[in-house]
Amino acid sequence: MAATPKIELAGVTKSFDANHVLKGVNLTVAPQESLVIIGTSGCGKSVLMKCLNGLIRPDTGSVKIEGEEVLDQGRAALEDLRQHFGMTFQFGALFDSLPIWENVTFRLRHQKALGKAAARDIAAQTITQLGLAPSVIDQYPAELSGGMQKRVALARAIVDEPEILLFDEPTSGLDPITGGVIDRLIIDARKRLGATTVTISHDMASVRRIADKVAMLHNGVIIWAGPADNMNESGVPEVHQFVHGLTEGPLTNNWTIYQAGS
């Protein structure tokens, strides 16, 4: 008998007024698997990710974590469930008004009543593991570079050792070297925690480094999902165009028509 998937989505739809973003997404992620969701800008990848931990409630469909339906949960149960998740956002989403040590240990401080001295120690230890100097803990997010902010966001996501990690474009806006470092940190953290990860990325070099499995979202549905090694032989024209970064192809046909028409 196959093991229960860690994450399972079935028929997930979500619309914002007349904009039908998700039109029936089906997807499974196995325990300790690293799934990367790819797709063109604005295709609904972030919305899909936010459906996973209940930040956005789908209109219809099912979202299960370890076989348990997320959408049936009350607010308190959902908050408990979220303690099993760590998430980083595209632009870090660090709390501007708090120093780094409070950002990193926010959940430990507020949910587990961790004292200040212990929280500072844990923050220093965690960011050191991610290649930042311990002195950074007393700085504020605005004082850090983009790459450092991404590391702090990663530290905040992994500090209480969650079972599921969600990364929304972890390498966007970074130079290739810093992006590669972030990828390595993600891989290390995942291995160390034994976590299941779902990542959104446009960066194909990054996708190849961190993905076990890749799924492509297009027009509100998953048009292809398979092992990362099979991406080049998917046989799906949209995947082929996206993976190879081609300007001509089915993903840009609409744009061409629009330009010709206008």
Binding site: K50, N53, L55, E79, D80, R82, Q83, F85, G86, M87, F89, Q90, F91, A93, L94, F95, D96, S97, F106, R107, H110, Q111, R156
Partner: protein, 258 residues
């Protein structure tokens, strides 16, 4: 004509919807104020921000308003030889009306705008979503401490503003208009009743709640981008100022004669 009626109807419906949203938001906020956990550090930060850092602007506003009031009332009352009531007029005007309203409007400009901008920025940069992912309720962490701090701080600010405003009147009365200092002070206290001060403080508490409510509501529902945050900030200040003036009339009517 058809379009005019259509626009009128849409505006009316939007206004009712906005009133409904704000009412629901405030009910939810009050619920979270009463529900643990309590974020004392956030509350303290807001008290310092609203109470302590607003003191200079409230102090200066009430000082000069008290001074102007003494001059203006002297000019008016001199026409029917009632100059000796200047001190009484100054203290009653400041405690019952000018202190709370001026402090409220100044704090609405300073704090309402800053709350809307801070929470709005948190909304557009995903910080509010990040709070949720960290199992923290944004209404409880961001909104509840601000509402409590606003409601607590405004009465203290107004009380201090009252003293400074009366002192402004005293300065003008004694050093510019030539009143005897002890007579001026005696006149100030002669007709002043405890209810005059408490009415002002009740108003201040209501204004403080409204300022924080508008700042949080518009910030929380901020549109995307810098333009969205800018609009939220403007809406927070404008709506808080208007609500202060409306609430001023309502509270005064309730306690009229008190």
């Amino acid at each position: 004509m058809h379009r005019f009626v259509q626009n009128l109807g849409r505006t009316a419906l939007n206004s009712f919807a906005a009133i409904g949203h704000i009412s629901l938001f405030s009910i939810m906020a009050i619920r979270w104020i009463l529900t643990p956990p309590y974020y004392w550090q956030q509350l303290l930060r807001q008290i310092i921000d609203i109470g302590y850092y607003s003191l200079p602007v409230v102090g200066l506003t009430t000082l000069f308003s008290g001074m102007v009031l003494a001059l203006q009332s002297y000019t008016g009352f001199a026409r029917f030889s009632a100059e000796d009531t200047v001190a009484t007029v100054v203290v009653l005007s400041v405690t019952r009306e000018l202190g709370p309203v001026l402090a409220g409007l100044m704090v609405a400009g300073r704090i309402g705008a800053s709350m809307a901008a801070e929470i709005g920025t948190m909304r557009v940069t995903d910080q509010i979503d990040a709070l949720e992912t960290l199992s923290t309720r944004p209404m409880q962490y961001l909104v509840a401490p601000r509402l409590v701090a606003g409601t607590i701080c405004l009465p203290f600010l107004v009380l201090i503003g009252d003293v400074i405003g009366v002192f402004g009147g005293y300065l003008v009365g004694v050093y510019r208009l030539g009143f005897n200092p002890s007579v001026y002070l005696a006149r100030t206290l002669e007709y002043l009743e405890v209810s005059d001060v408490t009415l002002g403080l009740i108003k201040a508490a209501v204004f403080g709640f409204l300022i924080a409510l508008m700042g949080c509501y518009h910030g929380y529902h901020s549109g995307l981008g810098a333009q969205g945050v800018g609009r939220a900030t403007t809406n927070a200040v404008v709506s808080a100022s208007i609500l202060i003036l409306i609430a001023n009339y309502v509270v005064t009517t309730i306690f009229f004669g008190g």
